[in-house]
């Protein structure tokens, strides 16, 4: 049973199987109807008509039923799919409805028009002129026969009257019969008495008269006439009963050609009448036949429309299904190529896109893997923060720096990060409005760390998609730098102290030596030695003051400062410091103000002016130019001195470094510190044509 059910389920949906079942059912129904009709012994023509009409009815109604079922099934399915929002259902519904309108409208119109034409054509076939012609044909045949009968009847009456006049003599009657037979041109002239032939005269050309059966005795009881078919012609016989009981019989055989034409005319009239009786059946047959054909066309067109709508939308549905799977996070797969047409081209383009995406996805995975490996291996901490700055996740180095191992495995809220001793870092992250660089101190897990950080927005800086934070641990570096700085300071202080100590010691030893000898020279040596000692101690005092000055520089106090006025006033003081030495200011700032500490900036510029004045030869000129670029101010102090003697310019900014052999060597160091506290830079560049250019840049904001 299950096997049959499985077989049925397998064949149920096959179109060929359904068509075969339909044909078998139709054949069975037709055969059954034919047997039924034969059992009832219907006339063949009636059987044909009824069977044909029945089969056409059966065919048409089956087609209508199948068509309605197919339409209702597909339209219901489409409506449900549209109700559930299945992709492609709207397109398919429009396509199917368009097909139906395009098919049903013209087909129904053509069918109605054709049915009307057929009906009117059938009516015209049986129109009044044709009816009249058929009737006249029949009337003509009837008239010819009636005319022949009347002629025979008159001849019989004439012969009977003449025989009655000549009396009952046999010879006289025979002579009269022969005379009248020849005179009237009868084909048959006879005299009967008591049911037997007395005499009978026949035209030898009318052989049909010989084969005629004798008239019945009862028919001869009264006068009359009869027409009979005989040998392909029509024979008319009339008889007249005489007073003595004798019967005169006169016959005439119509010409065979005339009778044949008459027969054809009558047969055509009969056939016409028979067709007229079947007119409605013929019309029904034609209309049903044409209707069946129209239904077949509609069925084929609807089936084709439904098939095409499915065929058109199937690849699109596959595309959508693939993209929906990709949207759900599943793998994007290629779609089978439906055909070599525009839809196929679309699918091929989609498949090419899928292949490219897969390649890019593989490359991206590889890049991500490589980046992940790098991030896990580097000592720089990297944090990624979402756009809303609510959570953050980092690499193992960042987790170690911030003392939160879980940071490397899952996103953490910023509040959680702040509570673990990274409050200043979190504050910096939250306040960053764009790219930020700076340093911050955190106390993660009880350990203080100095971190250098760089915050960069992901994507557009105006609307970042997220943030990336790079953390560098500067604790060890700062400690080493601090130790190196102290060592350098100690070395330089020792060097600076060592220089005056030697002459002091030599002066003291000379005084002591002269004191042991005694003599007059002591009084001269002691004042000289004390003066030398005092001079070198004074130098040491100046060195210590300079050191104190460098160490005690206060923090800058920024306020709006008119830089042009400040430089001009200072240059005015230095102008003429030495004979023929001029300070010239080229001010391109106008009334531009900058945020600066005017006292400290004046001190830094004075140091630069001192150096320029010392380096410049007599008659020289120091040019101070003020210029502005997009976001910074540039102050250039140019002299025509000996220039930089090939040493590293950066060494000139180190404290207690001097190439002049005098002074404390702290001036340029103070300049660099003040400019750095303003967020600017200072550089020493060789000037074209000889000399040095000291270039100071200060940020506008």
């Amino acid at each position: 049973m299950k096997r049959w059910r499985r077989a049925w389920e397998r064949y149920r949906r096959q179109t060929r199987f359904l068509v075969a079942v339909y044909l078998v059912l139709m054949a069975l129904a037709g055969g059954a109807f034919w047997l039924f009709a034969r059992l009832r012994e219907l006339p063949p023509e009636e059987l044909t008509n009824r069977l044909l009409v029945f089969l056409l009815w059966w065919f048409d109604l089956t087609l209508i039923a199948v068509l309605l079922f197919m339409l209702l099934r597909n339209l219901t399915k489409l409506a449900l799919e549209r109700h559930h929002g299945v992709f492609g259902s709207r397109f398919r519904a429009k396509l199917v409805l368009s097909y139906l309108v395009l098919i049903f409208g013209p087909t129904l119109l053509v069918f109605l028009l054709s049915a009307s034409l057929l009906s009117h054509a059938a009516a015209r076939w049986f129109s009044e002129p044709v009816e009249e012609m058929a009737a006249q044909g029949t009337a003509l045949a009837t008239g010819l026969r009636a005319q022949a009968e009347a002629r025979a009847r008159r001849a019989a009456t004439t012969v009977a009257r003449e025989l009655a006049r000549v009396g009952e003599g046999r010879a006289a009657r025979l002579a009269t019969l022969e005379r009248l037979h020849a005179l009237l041109g009868n084909h048959l002239t006879g005299l009967w008495r008591d049911g037997a032939t007395v005499v009978e005269l026949q035209d030898p050309r009318a052989e049909e008269l010989r084969r005629l059966p004798a008239l019945a005795q009862e028919a001869l009881a009264s006068s009359g006439q009869r027409s009979e078919r005989a040998g392909g012609t029509l024979v008319v016989r009339a008889w007249e009963v005489m007073a003595d009981g004798s019967v005169v019989v006169v016959g005439e055989a119509l010409p065979p050609e005339l009778v044949a034409a008459q027969a054809r005319l009558a047969a055509a009239g009969a056939a016409y009448q028979q067709l007229k009786l079947q007119r409605t059946a013929m019309t029904a047959t034609m209309v049903l036949g044409f209707g069946g054909f129209a239904l077949l066309v509609v069925f084929a067109a609807v089936w084709l429309g439904l098939h095409l709508s499915r065929r058109f939308t199937a690849p699109l549905l596959s595309l959508v299904a693939s993209t929906e799977r990709a949207a759900r996070g599943e793998t994007l797969e290629e779609v089978p190529l439906p055909a070599d047409d525009e839809v196929g081209l679309l699918v091929e383009s989609f498949n090419a896109m899928v292949r490219r995406l897969k390649e890019k996805e593989a490359a991206l995975q590889e890049t991500v893997h490589r980046l992940d490996t790098v991030l896990r291996g580097i000592r720089t901490g990297v944090l990624t923060m979402d756009r809303e700055r609510t959570s953050v996740i980092g690499n193992p180095a960042a987790a170690a720096l911030l003392g939160m191992p879980q940071l490397a495995s899952r996103p953490l809220a910023l509040e959680e990060l702040a509570a673990a001793g990274n409050a200043r870092l979190v504050e910096t992250l939250r306040s960053a409005a764009g790219p930020v660089r700076g340093s911050v101190t955190v106390e993660a897990a009880g350990v203080a760390r100095a971190l250098e950080l760089a915050v960069l927005p992901l994507g557009d800086a105006a609307q970042p998609q997220g943030w990336v934070v790079a953390l560098e641990d500067l604790t060890q570096l700062l400690r080493a730098q601090r130790q190196a700085a102290w060592s350098e300071v100690a070395r330089r202080i020792a060097h600076q102290i060592k220089n005056p100590l030697t002459p002091i010691r030599l002066a003291a030893e000379r005084i002591a030596r002269h004191a042991e000898r005694g003599g007059e020279s002591l009084s001269a040596v002691v004042p000289q030695g004390c003066a030398a000692i005092v001079e070198h101690v004074q130098a040491m005092q100046e060195m210590v003051d300079a050191f104190a000055l460098y160490a005690k520089l206060p923090p800058v106090s920024l306020r709006p400062t008119h830089l042009g006025q400040l430089v001009t006033q200072l240059a005015t003081l230095y102008d003429g410091l030495r004979p023929n030495l001029h300070f010239r200011v080229q001010d391109h700032l106008g009334d531009q103000q900058v945020m600066a500490d005017p006292e400290q900036l004046r001190q830094a510029l004075a140091n630069l002016f001192d150096n320029a004045a010392e380096a410049s030869p007599d008659g020289g000129e120091v040019v101070i130019s003020l210029a502005r670029s997009e976001n910074e101010i540039t102050i250039t102090v140019a002299d025509r001195g000996a220039g930089i003697d090939g040493s590293d310019p950066e060494l000139l900014f180190q404290p207690f470094y001097s190439t002049k052999g005098r002074g404390s060597g702290i001036g340029l160091a103070v300049v660099q510190r003040i400019v750095a506290d303003h967020g600017g830079t200072v550089r020493l560049l060789p000037r074209e044509g000889g000399g040095v250019e000291a270039v100071v840049t200060l940020p506008l904001d």
Partner: protein, 170 residues
């Protein structure tokens, strides 16, 4: 098929009412039925007869047994077909009556009135009836033509079905 049957069923009651006289003469095991159509024959039928086309009237006879609690049981069905055709050459009408395919009677008529009278008053048909004392019904109808309404819906032109109780045989 069902639709076809429904269409036929709807078409049959639409037949025009015709008069049909039925007289029954019972005898043991047989019932003689004398039929006579008293209504005017359709004009197209008469015209076809005069024109020489073969025409016929089919008398359908159906015998039912009345059952008290169930529907009537159909015992037998018979057809009496009376055919008439005029020979246009001789003007003689040939008449044949067949009952269930067997020739019952035949004859000739010289005029159309005689021929129509012959076919509307066919020779009596004898049909077998069961030898049981049960109520029997004979349902009879005369059919002339088959037409088609609205071009394709079949419609039979004939008398209405006439029901007569079968009298008991003496």
């Amino acid at each position: 098929m069902m639709v076809y049957a429904l269409v036929l069923a709807a078409a049959l009651p639409a037949a025009k009412p015709q008069d049909l006289e039925v007289s029954l003469t019972p005898s043991p095991g047989r019932l003689t039925v004398q039929l006579a159509v008293t209504h005017q024959i359709p004009e197209e039928w008469s015209r076809a007869l005069v024109g020489g086309a073969p025409v016929s009237i089919t008398y359908r006879l159906r015998l039912f047994r009345n059952r008290r609690w169930l529907w009537d049981q159909r015992l037998s069905g018979h057809e009496l077909v009376v055919e008439a055709q005029r020979d246009p050459l001789t003007g003689v009408f040939t008449l044949i009556a067949r009952q269930d395919g067997e020739v019952l009677a035949s004859g000739h008529a010289a005029s159309v009135e005689e021929a129509i009278h012959w076919v509307t008053h066919p020779p009596p048909a004898a049909i077998p009836v069961p030898l049981r004392h049960e109520p029997l019904w004979l349902v009879v109808r005369a059919e002339y033509l088959t037409k088609y309404k609205l071009l394709v819906i079949p419609s039979t032109v004939g008398t209405q079905w006439v029901t007569r109780a079968v009298p008991e045989a003496p």
